[in-house]
């Protein structure tokens, strides 16, 4: 097998921005599915507001991806006109919502990672990335506070809520490993001081996650098997269904505006 050439910083940047923007886009879309269906009004509002934050951040990340790519693609083009294999989000964020506990566990595992990623990105040598990270971090700080708080309340709650949270953790844990696996693009950006190497976020993430889960009386599964593929465009069947709904309008009526 031939050794792949080292990607250019520019290509690595575009890839990284797509990954970052696709994570916020797909999770934002997922949690927007709860709008009008949450167990209580406050949680409905919280999920809808978190979705709004994530989709707002998506506009910034994908907007910059399109700008650096230089082919005239806007954030909207990238969100609405790519097929599943071109999406670069982690598999974790495309998992179906399940029950409210499952949604919250997915959110917590993601928020804790998102918080560490953004914190590191505020030190990026690329000021365009640092400024989006600084803006997003303020919003994500509220996300992690809320999800961590609820994980403790529900995990250390009733027998029923505890069981549901433990089930959710058991099902989702094997989707967290991918967040910390780097590739040639990550190596280039870490070397250039533009983005942290994914592996470097693991210890901090695990510290926050372990502490919160332990307070929630939940046990981290012992299995070390991890799913992966999303970062390379290899997705589960669930992404296709998300895109079918999210992209319908632009696919059926190309270029529609309002």
């Amino acid at each position: 097998m031939a050794t792949a050439a080292t990607p250019s910083v520019n290509d690595a940047l575009v890839e990284f921005l797509l990954r970052t923007g696709d994570n916020t886009l797909i999770l934002g879309h997922r949690i927007s599915e709860w709008c009008g269906h949450s167990p209580v009004l406050e949680e409905d509002i919280a999920l809808a507001n978190s979705a709004l934050d994530l989709i707002g951040q998506t506009q910034l990340w994908l907007g910059l991806a399109g700008e650096i790519e230089g082919k005239g693609r806007t954030a909207d083009n990238l969100a609405y006109l790519r097929d599943a294999a071109e999406f670069r989000n982690a598999l974790l964020v495309e998992r179906p919502n399940g029950d409210f506990g499952f949604t919250l566990m997915r959110q917590f595992l993601f928020d804790a990672w998102h918080f560490e990623l953004l914190t590191a990105l505020t030190q990026s040598k690329d000021p365009r990335i640092a400024e989006i990270a600084a803006k997003s971090l303020k919003e994500v700080s509220y996300h992690i506070e809320r999800s961590a708080d609820l994980i403790v309340r529900l995990g250390d709650g009733t027998a029923e809520s505890h069981k549901r949270m433990q089930d959710a953790l058991d099902q989702l844990w094997s989707y967290t490993g991918e967040l910390f696996i780097g590739d040639a693009y990550d190596d280039v950006l870490a070397e250039a001081g533009i983005a942290p190497h994914p592996a470097s976020l693991k210890d901090k993430w695990l510290a926050v996650v372990s502490r919160t889960l332990s307070e929630a009386t939940l046990k981290i599964p012992s299995s070390t098997f991890m799913h992966k593929g999303g970062k390379r465009g290899i997705h589960t069947e669930h992404l296709g269904f998300i895109l079918a709904e999210m992209q319908f309008l632009q696919r059926a009526y190309p270029g529609a505006t309002w």
């Binding site: 919280a46 803006k135 506070e145």
Partner: protein
């Protein structure tokens, strides 16, 4: 052709100080602290605006309102610039703006209550700082509690008062 006399920047700022926020019309865009700069580039007025929250749906309405207001005042060439850095903070809400919020029924932001993403440390910090209590905008009581970190708009949280028993919005710190 005679060169039209361009209004002074003070005049422009004065005009912008009466443009209401579309979601909380009791305060103006300048009270909110989101107008970061106003300048003439030759005969084009450049207004630099920073978003409050990255996904706030009011952002595009705000831009439209600024443009409409300035056009109504006779300015023909306007450029709106988005500036992300430094990111908007509730510290930029003017003292007058805070009073207007309170009178309107929204508890104004209290410095030091911004989320820092470390729940446990934050609870300890808040518990040790009694001056951080959010006062009820209706009865003034500080016996209040947070119901949710999120509220009716991205910039607000939901709280309730234990004395007058009313729920209220708190303009949360970021």
């Amino acid at each position: 052709m005679t060169q039209p006399v361009l209004p002074s920047l003070d005049q422009v700022r004065q005009w912008l100080s009466v443009v209401p926020d579309p979601e909380i019309p009791v305060i103006s865009l300048t009270d909110l602290g989101i107008i970061r700069d106003v300048n003439w580039d030759d005969d084009t007025l450049v207004v630099t605006v920073t978003p409050t929250y990255s996904g706030c749906p009011a952002t595009s309405v705000i831009n439209l309102d600024i443009e409409n207001e300035l056009r109504a005042r006779g300015i023909e060439k306007i450029t709106l610039k988005r500036q992300l850095s430094p990111p908007w903070t509730t510290d930029w809400i003017s003292a007058e703006g805070r009073e207007k919020l309170r009178a309107y029924g929204i508890a104004p932001p209290i410095d030091g209550t911004a989320a820092d993403g470390r729940l446990m440390e934050r609870i300890e910090r808040l518990a040790s700082g009694s001056n951080l209590a959010v006062a009820c905008p209706r009865c003034g009581s500080s016996r209040t509690e947070m119901v949710s970190r999120f509220g009716s708009t991205p910039c607000k949280a939901s709280w309730r008062c234990h004395d007058c028993l009313e729920p209220f919005d708190y303009f949360k710190c970021i």
